[in-house]
Subunit: 459 residues, 2 copies
């Protein structure tokens, strides 16, 4: 329970209509898209101005109340699961695109702007904001920066962090911190924007985000290659990269996922295929034509049973609709879905695909594997029922086996979902103890009372 | 003077032949390429292994000795000017390219590897390391990361920081910190690599650097456009960007610089031109052809007196030789050269060029302006004689006026040279006091004794 005087102060700050203490409301903010125990906050606040946001941060610090800032709550590592009896700040009223500068190719946004809204707004002006996390239709840019969200275009275009030119954020005292610039190059002061990217709300609270835009590619071509052997598909991925082709998107889908997607969306996927590759190349029309031809011939060389090049926007959209529905389709099959994102160097994709099959067999659990093969960032997706305790133990062991395999192959625990709560206990395996200690020194210095989204990343 | 026992410890650690205390040797390490008072260190050390480097860091911390790590000392903001009676660590024995991974497109290097050496080594394998600071022939990759060095290709390809995939560095206790990965996406733990980029040796000491590589562009074309009016040249820069053409390089040179370069290198530059634009487009041959045609027609539309497209590699090389000799050419003219890098949003280049002329007139000092116009990152270069006290006062006032103008135009103090000592007193103008305080909290937490390259960035 929040002390009455403080509750009044919150009401004064954000307006009484933007203070939520009803159990039903708080329940909405007790979880995110990761499979973790829900935790009920004491209050949720919906500031409508930067000034109010700053004051909320200050009040939380002064009153030693844990504060979790939440965009759409789509993150997959528990980064937005609040602390018990803490404060949730919802950013959906801070949802203005403040500026789109066409000449200098940047946008300034509030943290609550929905990713797809910015993408559409800049596309209407011939510009491109490439990062496209799976949840882009609802996810917010503040959340994307906090988690360093990836997406389907990471291979060619990078991730959210690659587009952050500048930030204004509030430190734990509510003071405004300015980092980066509206210029394409900035070597002034510490790269605090770099530090804030992926810091999951633990070091400050975003108020304004300056994002780099680029020209829209002139042309693109989507392809779908069907494989009768899983290995042939994964070898093709490595071959495309080795040939120095850089597709905008290079996605993998195994038979388990193909069948789930087809049952869910009836788009006509080949349900008997062992694996699919969904590929898009973009750029100058001549480049697109040449890359598409190279991709087709590599797919054939590495044993594709067939390959179909989308002839128009409708066919292209259907390729990506199929891919984008994978998560929802798999989620239909079992009560609990765990989407991992352990990532390996790209040439190790064949090894990782084999390992997922082995782990599935070894632990006797269902794993559907799809994802950003071109980045080495597959999504092994475990389907289970959390209430089944016996199976849950096997699931936990399988998850650790997935992480161990990724590290063994020279990879990392998370390509794009962040560390959050879900992976913080595994972090030391990857980085060693000194790195955790170094990180804790940063955290304590910037948040001495540990009120900014506690327990995330470094536990 | 270093205490004898400690000196012996240093000798044991790096080998007696790698400990330098002679005045003549120390003089070499007392300055860098910024115009600042030289400062004599007490000792210079040349570790030949990572283990020795780690131990040196620990010894310095235990003995409260300021430690400045130095690559080639080419930086332009005083980031490698040591502390009085401190330790300089020279990285030129840590100069191994440890791995070039073609399949996964990354390289792992020691900090003392010369930038151009890596660029050539990867180019021989059809790969591309784009960052090309002006000093690339001698500058080191450790120094490039520490300063977040830019270069001529920033417009299309970004700066050093955009290529840092992972780092192993030593914290102030000599403990190894691991951040980032060999994967193209990594959202694991804090983005400490982001924080380290541009931190100028104040938060840790690099041991291994993992750098992203990309495929070599298939084709390129260089052009030189001659303008009778300075304004026409700068308006053309803005027009090219506004047309969504992204040249690999888009450089500006004013008449003052043109004449200096021609006197220095006799490459046949038009000495009566008010300004030149040196432009290179690269990529797929069809894209290159189309972009080159668009650039030519925009140059003409905005009043170019002539434009020459390089017909072969020899002509192309001569364009870039002219540009790359600008700094050396200007340095011949006066005893003291100050190369600034205040940067503005790209559309503000015409305003910035005008402002440089006004400032030159107003303060009665010579300013040659050239640089990365496409990034908004011009190099107003002041020619003076530091021994002339009266003029020096005017120079200092002019530098502040340049910074003020850049900030007024929505820009930043430094696009690529870093803050160092030279700009630390101006930092607050750009970021406000809370950002300095926030940065100081990070610094104190990670280097409580303030021994890691003191006085840089935040003073």
């Amino acid at each position: 329970m929040i002390q009455k005087g403080l509750l009044k102060e919150f009401q004064k700050t954000v307006g009484a209509a933007n203070v939520f203490t009803d159990h039903a409301d708080l329940l909405t903010y007790s979880y995110d898209a990761a499979v973790l125990e829900p935790v009920l906050p004491a209050v949720a606040l919906r500031p409508t101005t930067g000034e109010a946001l700053s004051k909320v941060v200050r009040l939380c610090n002064e009153n030693l109340l844990p504060l979790t800032v939440r965009g759409a709550g789509t993150n997959l590592s528990g980064g937005t699961v609040p602390s018990a009896k803490g404060v949730v700040v919802v950013t959906n009223a801070l949802n203005q695109i403040l500026e789109i500068n066409e000449a200098d190719m940047y946008a300034v946004v509030q943290p609550g702007v929905v990713t797809a809204k910015l993408a559409a707004a800049v596309e209407a002006r011939g510009l491109f904001y490439p990062p496209d996390p799976g949840s882009q239709a609802v996810s917010t840019l503040g959340g994307n920066v906090a988690e360093n969200a990836g997406g389907l275009r990471g291979l060619k275009y990078g991730v959210t962090g690659d587009y952050v030119m500048g930030l204004q954020f509030f430190d734990v005292n509510g003071e405004p911190i300015t980092t980066g610039s509206r210029t394409v190059k900035c070597a002034t002061g510490y790269n605090l924007a770099g530090l804030m990217v992926g810091s999951e709300g633990t070091l400050g609270v975003f108020n304004k985000i300056t994002l780099k835009l680029i020209p829209l590619p002139a042309d693109q071509k989507a392809m779908m290659a069907v494989f009768d052997e899983m290995e042939n598909a994964s070898e093709t991925v490595a071959a495309i990269i080795a040939d120095h082709i850089v597709p905008a998107t290079l996605e993998y889908m195994d038979n388990f996922t193909i069948r789930a997607v087809e049952a869910y969306s009836r788009v006509g996927l080949p349900v008997d295929a062992a694996a699919l590759l969904l590929i898009e190349v973009d750029g100058h029309p001549a480049q697109v034509e040449e890359d598409a031809q190279k991709v087709v011939s590599l797919c054939k060389k590495f044993g594709a049973a067939s390959i179909k090049v989308a002839v128009d926007a409708v066919e292209r959209d259907s390729v990506w609709e199929a891919r984008r529905s994978a998560l929802s389709a798999l989620a239909k099959l079992k009560p609990t879905l765990i989407l991992e994102d352990a990532t390996v160097p790209r040439s190790k994709i064949p090894d990782m695909v084999r390992a997922m099959q082995d782990i599935s067999r070894q632990y006797g659990i269902e794993i559907g594997t799809f994802g950003h093969a071109g980045d080495g960032n597959l999504h092994p997706t475990i389907l289970t029922d959390r209430r089944n305790k016996q199976e849950w133990e096997k699931v936990e062991a399988a998850i650790e086996a997935i992480f161990d395999k990724a590290l063994e192959l020279g990879g990392t625990l998370s390509g794009e979902h962040g560390t959050g709560i879900a992976k913080s206990c595994f972090l030391e395996k990857e980085t060693g103890p000194a790195t955790i200690l170094y990180s804790k020194r940063v955290k304590s210095a910037l948040d001495p009372n540990n009120i900014l989204n506690p327990d995330k990343i470094i536990g």
